[in-house]
Subunit: 223 residues, 2 copies
DNA sequence: AGAATCGACATGAAAAATTCAGGAAAATAC
DNA sequence: GTATTTTCCTGAATTTTTCATGTCGATTCT
């Protein structure tokens, strides 16, 4: 499900710039140019997240946030402030009125998007008591490790790349050709058996049964 | 794991009454009798939840909450207000300064306990890892110093930078590439083996076992 | 049908290539 | 001057690749 984001800023340029980028990330984006409008839109669309400029004429960010926080219907909505760099006071004020996070202008789109993602992830994690991953193993890209039966195994480069490739689309059959180009690229030349050998090493480490061979085509990871 | 709750009220009777009931439920309960004390205790014990009386002399609940919200270390802490019935204004004010929930006096213990449980459950669902990370060594950014087995070791600049980089995300594998750009930047050119040498020095000083090398990729700090 | 054949992969062993640790010394900073 | 940072070289360890051989099933031949 796509998340709804309400973007509030009085400068149309910024509004459009940020909107464009968020839409491209797949979010449903609403906009408002002042606090009053923001409240109205928020009441209607129940956004998951509100990005709120601090400096606005008439009703500034803090006031707006307070008003948002006063509305119990919006209590699950996250509020993130935007403000010019260095306005420490405002930053504090922001948290004071219940902001959940804080971003400084000038806005770095990449940063904003990743923060937004992080925050929305937290929302998702909340009501869902989920505990997925019945896959037997866990692949941890950050640590470069695989956890199997509680044991942490660190894999060397090629092995990890291969596992990640297979693991990232569980159940899907990956043709040898694809493995080849994705791991070795188009300009490196290695013999035919090389893939087999790496597959074998992987099987030794994460368990035989998880990687299935489809003769004449390729391999797939079975959860 | 038991949750930590900080209880703030100026009336000792209430304090003891609520404390007794929460402890019986298995929570770790801290208390404070005014806002200032609350802030101090909160900073120390990092409570999961703060139960905050609105009506207190000197520094009232709203002020205290604002101060709590201003402390980034406590951003994951939930704040619940307690106040006499019917004080609608206060209620609004409570949310205005970032409260997460609201309870009215006179306190019905059953209700309070169930609300507390509900709130703490929400915290657990969040992917918030416990406090900092207990990692065997302590890194002191101010003094360029590392404390290991009670001994204080001063590191030179590059070594410290390297350690800090690894240490700041324990467990995460830092690719050589990243180490390179984060410590030397993009415009300085140093040989390939330079990183290795610094890693070795670090290992000599803080202990071999803590820095793990992943061949062909990089290094990581293991707590 | 049964035997021979063949394609495609598995496997074990081992060569080849990388990649690091360690020691020492040169270059640089302080 | 000493302390720190960097380079360089050697040897060891690990990873990556190759190679020869074995297995299994499907196809073909007789």
């Amino acid at each position: 499900m796509s998340h709804r984001i309400l973007l509030v800023d009085d400068e149309v340029d910024i509004l459009e710039f940020v909107r464009y980028n968020l839409v491209r990330e797949g979010y449903e984006v609403y906009t408002a140019q002042n606090g009053a409008e923001a409240l109205k839109v928020a009441a209607e669309c129940h956004p998951h997240l509100i990005l709120l400029d601090m400096m606005m004429p008439v009703m500034d960010g803090a006031q707006t946030c307070r008003a948002i926080r006063a509305n119990p219907e919006l209590k699950d909505t996250m509020v993130v402030f935007l403000s010019a760099l260095g306005e420490e006071e405002q930053q504090l004020a922001g948290f004071g009125v219940g902001a959940d996070d804080y971003l400084t202008k000038p806005i770095k789109m990449k940063l904003l998007v990743s923060r937004v993602q992080a925050i929305l992830k937290r929302i998702d994690a909340d009501p869902i008591p989920e505990k997925p991953a019945p896959t037997g193993i866990t692949v941890d890209r950050e640590r470069y490790t695989v956890i199997r039966d509680g044991e942490e195994i660190t894999l060397p480069r090629k092995e990890f790349a291969l596992l990640e490739l297979l693991y990232s689309s569980p159940g899907r059959l990956i043709p040898r050709e694809e493995i080849y180009t994705k791991i070795w690229g188009t300009d490196v030349v290695v013999g035919d058996r090389t893939i087999d050998v790496h597959i074998r090493k992987l099987r030794q480490k994460i368990g035989d049964e998880r990687i299935v061979t489809v003769k004449g085509v390729g391999y797939k990871y079975e959860p």
